[in-house]
């Protein structure tokens, strides 16, 4: 069975600070990887996804993530956060075999202080 670990549960940053949120997954095969974001009071929406090819993927709002296969990691980064990035961030994985459904991590709550 696949699983996802997000090590940072609550992160507090000042505006313009750099962000890196950790995500590690466990799965014995090829995966698709995703980061979703949930802004306060809003529905989950996709930030970025990795299916294949270039392991550095760029998403919306200046976010990017790097897939490191040897480390089973898919960390999310942003060079300079804004107050509007305050939200909860979820990493998710889908294996290429077996059930075709997302497995999510426990989430990281990001609070950006002005």
């Amino acid at each position: 069975a696949q699983s996802v670990s997000q090590h940072n549960h609550h992160v507090i940053l000042s505006e313009a600070a750099s962000l890196e949120l950790g995500c590690n997954y466990s799965y014995g095969g090829t995966v698709n990887l995703f980061w979703y974001v949930q802004y306060p009071g809003q529905h989950l929406q996709l930030l970025l996804k990795y299916f294949s090819g270039d392991p550095l993927v760029k998403g919306i709002k200046g976010f990017e993530a790097e897939f490191i296969k040897s480390k089973f990691s898919f960390n999310l980064r942003k060079p300079s956060v804004q107050w509007s990035d305050t939200a909860e961030y979820f990493c998710a994985v889908e294996g290429h075999t077996g059930r075709r459904a997302l497995t999510f991590g426990s989430g990281t709550r990001l609070q950006v202080q002005p």
Binding site: Q6, L44, K49, F90, A101, G107
Partner: protein, 115 residues
Amino acid sequence: DVKVTQSSRYLVKRTGEKVFLECVQDMDHENMFWYRQDPGLGLRLIYFSYDVKMKEKGDIPEGYSVSREKKERFSLILESASTNQTSMYLCASSPSGHGGWTEAFFGQGTRLTVV
């Protein structure tokens, strides 16, 4: 824009009641999912469906059932609500694609309180 609509934003039900949570998507997606979201636990998959009249158990199906009579509608049923089912319930849909599917689109969620 893909729209996934959940029938209620907030629900309060009594222990032992039968509860129906409805979800409708308007993009002709094959796949539909029900998750529950709890603080510190993220989203956990309850049930999913790849086609009309079919269903698959997720990671936490106990105490729940589902129904998919039409492609656009996926209902989650709590047969006898209990207080430990107080949670945020999220519905999602996705298209089937080559090598898997592209992304899941989520509804706004239903916050269910069982008293």
